[in-house]
Symmetry: C2
Subunit: 410 residues, 2 copies
């Protein structure tokens, strides 16, 4: 389903694959996606065609991410040469030997996630949620326009796209009930997010300026922050979301580098008041990335109906950028390790159909979505499959993030 | 400063040491503390004296923790034999060869922390904090007596006892100020906690019952959850504490096993209402552990004055136990990995001098502590050293946790 043009020479996203075709050993190897193929970087390093020791024998990209910008750029430039018309016939043959069709490999988590942080950087999302959950109060908390609000999530349950998502059990309490009950979540939701993957490590005790993005951020994935709204509503005071989120977080398997994203970097939205000095970068760090969420129910699958689009939004409008998130995260001396994952927070617009979650799209289930086959959805049912896709296009440049997919199981 | 009797045959806590005495290579080795010595387990396995492959070459205890209860008990029993009067003279010689004075080794983090969770399980602490921060409201949130409240913290900044703690910078806003400012925290605090270290892994998607403690929990350390109260007050709504906590979390270097703690397991406090069925265990899981916090300022050090005790409390009164925390944490299918760390939450009593934090001891600085040399403390100053000690004694049984120490640097 992924257009080969999304993974062209301008993209070359990195991932971890395994395959057994042609007598391969089924072990994890680092790779890049190129059009409808996968190029095995572990083998290219082994063959002496590519110089990148941190990719040799790697079962995650972490060591490579820890090398920093100069290494990433050298590897990217070498791969762009090897895959271009400028490659010699020997080089072409060497690469062809280590290339498989993309649909023959199994994708794995591209990173070993040390710490996972989830931000809350869409002001439209924060406003939508505030209006739904606290209708009689100011929708934004007083700190919203000053702080890139975030919290730590669970790294052990970050899973790669395609992993089934088991409906979580937990405590939930109806507003009029005297006590909570325990059972399967009845308000299972998604959140359309992107996630940035940390590059070079920072030092414990040493804050990093907002302008240090290119060294400490390698690239982006798509992220689905599955959320159990009934569990969340009952548990989240006073210390924030916990089990409502920690059952699963899905990411797309291919990490798109900042260099690949560079043509799509755009001006940031206006902010008022101006952020404090430590949150100011000298360049804009918004990205024009189109995002789409699709739903396919079990009945649609049985009826052979394709997934239906239920939301379209864009990453460019986020109130807080990666530069501000990086500076804020390290402002207290906290350290970042290669492979750390940072969710952007739900990416929502203010208009109907541009919101990144069911709780917003359906007003907490009060206005269910009507699907083409007559089904309705306030929240997710067992057997529902959610697909989030991302793509950027500008002039003759085009890249894709592929997709992050998950199906709910009972 | 640690009494050799705290690390007797009944204790044998596990840790990671390095040493260069006698031509040793300075690499990390697994070890147990015994009286005033350290016994090198890596070498004992290498020598064929101890059978525990997961300790050979280990730079953390994680692989050993992943082995589960049967392995832990076999290793413990073998070590108790080797270090007892029942050992043969050959065995004694073999152990003596791998034993150093405790004060000659460097201690390291005993675990690679995958995920770090901090609970909030002392109802006295939650009540004290609620009264201080929300004087006009009910001190406990409605969920407190139903849920072992917790949140995820940052694993990359968990440090071993002795690591200096740099005063964090961050945003804070005075109640009467129109906007926040950025700078060093003015309300730097501690939290006396214990932390449990996860043993055998659980499976993603599969909840673990409260009675499974012995397989999935290896043991306990002391934990100091350093906290910047001014940063916390401004940032924590709506998603909980973040940078106010993530700058550092200190733990004691020796992990005391549940088997060593067994003689000190006592009845749990009364709970009303009765917890939901998934939070009920068939045995009591409170522990009678005495905790003490001491303070030594820079001036006290210059004047050669010893640390002064500023709080004494006991672990036995916690509202929520390790069994309930384990069952709750996994109730949504979230998985636990060996070496995951779970803080208990601040351990406080209700009487003056039994609280585990400055914010409680000094009523948020309004009633500063008077120190013997005439200094006062509302919160921590640069150069202050905080020591937390823990010990359990009952009949002829006695074990110690040693201490967790940290000094504030500017």
């Amino acid at each position: 389903v992924i257009d080969p043009r999304d993974y062209g020479l301008d993209n070359l996203p990195f991932g971890i694959v395994s395959h057994t075709a042609g007598g391969a050993d089924g072990r994890k190897h680092a790779a890049v996606a190129f059009e409808d193929t996968v190029v095995d970087l572990d083998c290219l390093v082994h063959d002496g065609v590519l110089d990148a020791d941190s990719l040799l024998g790697a079962t995650s990209l972490n060591d490579f991410l820890g090398e920093g910008l100069a290494t990433w750029r050298a590897v990217r430039a070498r791969l762009q040469h090897l895959l271009s018309d400028a490659a010699t016939s020997d080089e072409r043959a060497a690469v062809a030997k280590r290339t498989q069709p993309r649909d023959t490999v199994t994708m794995h988590l591209p990173i070993d996630v040390g710490d996972y942080v989830d931000f809350y950087s869409s002001i439209e999302h924060a406003t939508n949620i505030g209006r739904i959950l606290r209708p009689d109060a100011e929708p934004l908390t007083p700190n919203y326009r000053h702080i890139p609000i975030g919290y730590h999530g669970r790294s052990s349950t970050v899973v790669v796209s395609g992993t089934p998502v088991r409906r979580p059990h937990g405590q939930r309490k109806a507003p009029d009930a005297s006590a909570p009950t325990f059972g399967p979540s009845n308000l299972l939701d998604v959140e359309i997010e992107m996630g940035w993957v940390a590059g070079a490590a920072t030092v414990h005790g040493e804050p990093v300026p907002a302008d240090a993005v290119r060294e400490h951020v390698f690239g982006y994935v798509l992220l689905n922050d599955w959320s159990a709204r009934d569990i969340q509503a009952w548990e989240y005071q006073p210390l924030g979301p916990f089990l409502a989120k920690s059952f699963a977080t899905s990411i797309s398997p291919w990490v798109v580098s900042l260099d690949a994203l560079e043509p799509f970097r755009v001006a940031e939205p206006a902010r008022d008041p101006e952020p404090l000095p430590y949150l100011r970068a000298s360049e804009p760090w918004a990205y024009d990335v189109e995002l789409e969420m699709l739903l396919r129910t079990e009945r649609m699958r049985a009826q052979d109906q394709p997934p239906v689009t239920i939301a379209r939004t864009n990453f460019r409008g986020m109130y807080w950028t990666v530069a501000q998130q990086l500076a804020h995260m390290t402002s207290n001396g906290s350290r970042i390790r290669p492979g750390d994952l940072f969710g952007t927070g739900t990416i929502s617009g203010s208009e109907q159909g541009t919101q990144g979650s069911f709780i917003e799209l359906t007003r907490r289930g009060a206005q269910p979505l009507a699907l083409p086959n007559g089904e309705t959805r306030g929240f997710l049912e067992d057997g529902d499959t959610v697909v989030i896709r991302g793509r950027a296009a500008r002039g003759d440049k085009r890249i894709g993030f592929g997709e992050v997919v998950g199906t709910i199981v009972a």
